[in-house]
């Protein structure tokens, strides 16, 4: 499994670091050009992972729906001035809805504002999917070990992720069994859904405990001792290219967050230094 991850050229530490950097930048950045560049980076990463047609469709659907919903909501509820109504949905004198809201319209500036805001989502969603597509769960153990995390915890986390698909499959089986006994999930005004959840929780939980015991016994029978120092057949080694990209991404994120924190301290009147005036202006306008 590690081999396949290495073959894909994706060190889990590299993926985690890039995700951290993109997440931090998505929070720190505000300007249109910088968010656009971040979204392009996230999207580029997702496309570079060479997703198949199904994944590409998934990406397009996820991004399309997110961007669309943000643009529609901002187009209707945009409250800044100036704003240009391009379509009036409910004039202010419309009974109830018009009088309550002061009229509903689609504003040109709101559409643009929604599109800009959705750039954050495009960046993080694309990057997250790219990481998920190129990450092998078993590679995580080596990554955690290289980060010097307690091995017991790393083993537990990796095993939990590894068995997640099995648990989901078991939940499907339990649900199917309930349906064959006549359960209609949508019935009784949604109350059946709650019942179904409770009824499948017990078998899924029991199976998980059973599997955990089996896995623990299997590990113990193979001489697993969390206190012993471990070696790896193929130790993780980040390539120079990955190191440079990761270093640049983390440095950019750190710089952006630092600049933003300094700017917020200045803008809130808590701390100001005259020598940082140019940085404040750069942060306001470029970030």
């Amino acid at each position: 499994m590690i081999a396949s991850s290495r073959a894909a050229g994706r060190d889990p530490r590299f993926l985690a670091g890039c995700l951290l950097a993109i997440g931090a930048l998505a929070v720190a950045l505000d300007s249109i050009p910088s968010l656009g560049a971040l979204a392009a980076a996230g999207l580029g990463w997702a496309l570079a992972a060479r997703p198949g047609w199904r994944r590409l469709l998934l990406l397009a659907a996820a991004l399309g729906l997110s961007v669309w919903s943000l643009m529609v909501s901002q187009a209707i509820f945009y409250n800044q001035l100036p704003r240009t109504a391009i379509l009036v949905l409910a004039p202010p004198d419309t009974p109830v809805i018009g009088t309550l809201t002061g009229g509903l319209a689609i504003y040109r500036e709101g559409i643009w504002h929604g599109a800009v805001q959705s750039l954050r989502l495009v960046a993080t969603l694309s990057a997250g999917l790219a990481a998920a597509w190129t990450l092998e769960p078993s590679g995580l153990l080596a990554a955690f070990a290289s980060l010097r995390l307690p091995h017991a915890l790393a083993f537990c986390a990796t095993a939990a992720i590894r068995f997640l698909p099995v648990t989901v499959e078991e939940a499907h089986v339990a649900l199917r069994a309930q349906r064959m006994r006549g359960l209609r999930i949508g019935g009784r005004g949604g109350a059946n859904a709650l019942r179904a959840l409770l009824s499948i929780a017990r078998p899924v939980l029991a199976a998980s405990i059973r599997r955990a015991e089996t896995a623990a016994l299997a590990a113990a029978s193979r001489g697993y001792d969390p206190a012993r120092r471990r070696t790896s057949l193929r130790p993780l080694r980040m390539g120079w290219g990955e190191r440079i990209v990761l270093g640049a991404a983390l440095a950019a994120a750190l710089a952006a967050v630092t600049a933003k924190v300094l700017y917020l301290l200045y803008a809130s009147g808590l701390y100001h230094h005259p020598a940082l005036a140019a940085l404040y202006t750069f942060t306001r306008e470029a970030l």
Binding site: I32, L81, R83, A267, A277, Y280
Partner: protein, 546 residues
């Protein structure tokens, strides 16, 4: 002939026609002569002009914006003939020639545009150099740009961080630009235009205090930083600066104001003197005016808090000797009931010989003084009662020539100190949007009802040409007129109006400049100037007019 050949021939004819038209020589009459297009300077280094049968006169054209500016005299209806090396042109003169645009620069590509975190980017100053060869422009987001008038080429650029580029002045030799920043430090800088090197700087916050807005990240709040409200270089190269710091030490408390008039050695930055000598004046010095020989400066100082008798420094006019920095005379303003304080803005002008001063106060009163004593006072913009509230007309823009005291009355409004809470302060006033040209004896010589709100005023060095910016306001727009109107204050027939030039969008406050010789007018149009809930009109443009 085949169909394809016919089509090809038609296209060829069309293209040839389209291409030939702009190249044909064309003369547009202007107040000082005309603008010749379609002729290159190399072809017409000397042009002979004859109007109304008078003998031909040779003249050297001036190339600006790819056009040739010609200075010659014409009368309405006259036939004028132009001859140059390779061509000739004849045209009939109109009754009145409006200003002609010689270059329109799109500032979108030059200036930063408003962003989600920005209040806008209106220009904050616009001025010609003493020779009229350079034009400097500053913005509320700290951009400073100096352009060559003839070519439009940028010769100097600078950015002020976290503040406005509030004011500027050229040194008499045009080698140095003095830049005044409204920032936390309130810095005055002297910058060499050729090298960009900073020759000296002075932080006014040392004298006026460094306190600032409670929200320094808000560009609108930057008005609470100390800054230069007017700068002027005097003959000899020294620099005069009206420094004002106007801020709220406590957001719920009263405003605090501190002012100084400074004189710096223009070469070294050494402070020659500041007035008042020790402590700053607890008033707002928003403007000063000089006589032609720069012997004295008259500053106008207003007051934001309530007036009371016996103030050691009451609001008013203060004349300062520019050699010694000592006070020559003062003329205190007292509030006009029902107001409790006296507001002022750009409201003082000095007759070129220094013998008389015109001024106005925020309550609508107009003044003419001689040697510190009032010769004439009239409340042309004074309070009229509307719905029980006093409505006045804006009176903050003044000009002075040898013969005339020029007052501009703007929109009508209820001053904040008398306004009902939460109500609109925009109200009609019978004298709003009017230009008044008084003789220094107080007799009205000429009155012009403006189609919109006068928003800027600039006089040529000799005082002959007056340019007034007119712009739309949020209330009581008679028309959507955004324009520059020109006046010839020395017109022999007394008809001062000399044409106007319209812009699509509004003109920000005080963003009109006229070259010292009066030949060129620069005006900035900015769609961000009025936030009235409607889509902005126009674009950020710099218009250069002849």
């Amino acid at each position: 002939m085949t169909r394809a050949a016919r089509l090809g021939m038609t296209l060829a004819l069309l293209l040839a026609g389209c291409g030939a038209e702009p190249g044909a020589p064309r003369l547009t009459f202007a107040r000082l002569g005309g603008v010749l297009e379609g002729v290159r300077l190399e072809e017409a280094k000397e042009i002979s002009v004859s109007c109304g049968g008078r003998s031909p006169r040779p003249l050297a054209p001036r190339a600006v914006g790819g056009r040739l500016l010609l200075a010659f005299r014409w009368e309405a209806g006259e036939q004028c003939a132009l001859r140059w090396g390779g061509g000739e042109l004849a045209a009939a003169a109109p009754a009145l020639a409006d200003p002609v645009a010689v270059r329109v620069t799109e500032l979108e590509s030059v200036l930063f545009q408003p962003s989600a975190h920005s209040s806008g980017n209106a220009t904050s100053f616009l001025l010609f150099s003493p020779s009229g060869k350079l034009l400097a422009l500053g913005t509320q987001r700290g951009q400073v740009r100096v352009m060559e008038v003839a070519s439009g080429r940028t010769v100097f650029e600078r950015r002020v961080a976290e503040g406005w580029a509030k004011a500027a002045a050229f040194s008499p030799d045009e080698r140095v630009l003095f830049i005044g920043e409204q920032t936390r430090e309130g810095t005055i800088r002297a910058v060499d235009l050729a090298s960009g090197r900073e020759a000296w700087r002075h932080d006014m916050s040392k004298e006026l205090g460094g306190g600032g807005p409670w929200d320094p990240g808000n560009e609108l709040a930057w008005v609470e930083f100390p800054g230069p409200y007017r700068m002027a270089a005097v003959p000899g190269g020294d620099l005069l600066v009206a420094g004002l710091h106007n801020w709220y030490p406590d957001p719920k408390g009263p405003v605090r104001q501190l002012s100084h008039l400074y004189r710096f050695d223009g070469r070294t930055g050494a402070l020659r003197w500041k007035w008042p000598g020790k402590e700053p004046a607890p008033l707002s010095l928003t403007w000063f005016a000089l006589d032609a020989e720069a012997r004295a400066a008259v500053g106008v100082l207003g007051m934001a808090t309530d007036w009371r008798p016996g103030l050691p420094m009451p609001p008013g006019l203060y004349a300062v000797d520019l050699g010694s920095g000592r006070e020559l005379w003062r003329y205190p303003f007292e509030p006009m009931p029902p107001f409790k304080s006296v507001g002022t803005w750009r409201s003082v002008a000095v007759r070129p010989d220094g013998g008389a001063v015109s001024a106005s106060t925020g309550d609508g009163r107009l003044y003419i003084l001689e040697r510190g004593r009032a010769r004439w006072i009239e409340a042309r913009g004074g309070p009229v009662r509307t719905g029980g509230f006093p409505v006045v007309a804006e009176t903050g823009l003044l000009g002075a020539t040898r013969e005339l005291a020029i007052f501009s009355l703007g929109a009508g409004y209820i001053p904040l100190q008398a306004a009902p809470p939460g109500a609109s302060t925009d109200q009609p006033h019978p004298n709003s949007n009017t230009l008044l040209f008084f003789g220094w004896d107080g007799r009205l010589r000429y009155r012009w009802a403006a189609p919109n709100r006068p928003n800027g005023l600039a006089l040529s060095a000799g005082g002959r040409w007056l340019a007034v910016a007119l712009t739309q306001t949020t209330a009581f727009r008679r028309e959507d007129v955004n324009a520059v109107a020109l006046f010839d204050t020395e017109a022999p027939d007394g008809r001062l109006y000399a044409g106007e030039y319209h812009t699509e969008g509004p003109i920000p406050y005080d963003q009109v400049a006229i070259s010292p010789d009066g030949s060129l007018v620069a005006v900035v149009e900015s769609p961000a100037a009025i936030a009235d809930g409607r889509p902005p009109r126009g674009k950020s443009r710099l218009h250069l007019l002849y």
